[in-house]
Subunit: 105 residues, 2 copies
Amino acid sequence: MKLDDAAAHLEALGNPTRLKIYRALIRAGGAGLAVGRLQEKLKIAPSTLSHHIKALVVVGLVTQVRDATTLICHANYEVMRELVGFLVAECCTESAETKDTKTAA
Amino acid sequence: MKLDDAAAHLEALGNPTRLKIYRALIRAGGAGLAVGRLQEKLKIAPSTLSHHIKALVVVGLVTQVRDATTLICHANYEVMRELVGFLVAECCTESAETKDTKTAA
DNA sequence: ACGGTATTTCCAGAACTATCGAAATATGGA
DNA sequence: TCCATATTTCGATAGTTCTGGAAATACCGT
């Protein structure tokens, strides 16, 4: 993962509302959670929620699948793992300057 | 770590310039890096750099120690570890709700 | 096609962020 | 004290984000 991508992912998660959305999706597990359920849970205006979900979808942290009239949102674990991998490899070790430390995953 | 704190940390890192600053400090290791060296490295205006460093210092990701006229910046590994710990515990596992964390909020 | 539910898009305003030059401040040395 | 270096603060501007109401769109059952 490149630095700019990591920054984009971090920015997407760097908002309390979006982080709550993401955490709710993680807790929902593989079944995911409909936009409407998120709206009930978080109690924010539908347009605002849609705006934040989009920000997460754009960077790949969340995916959506339509089920009739409802849209089910899923957390994308793989992208999160890549992000955490980047942080651990590039931002956690005192000798991160050796670029080959990205092997961890 | 609380969700709002995690979001604040993620927001601080969620900017390419700030993430570069932070990574440079990690790579500098325990010796840290003076603001001026960062400025040479990243080639941004001193005022802009100061602004970004402050954002990192405010959330505790970076600390500063004065050495005569120069200010040495250090990455705070512990805060980063806490942040990664939050992400792993709350945002990486499919059954995050069944962990030692509280139930849905 | 119609009606109903689910969700997004559009619009707008307030608040915030990023940027940088210029001026101010901090520190130590001559 | 006065100067030089290092860094921050101030001020201004352009662009972006957050918010939510209203309208539009998507989909399904009948």
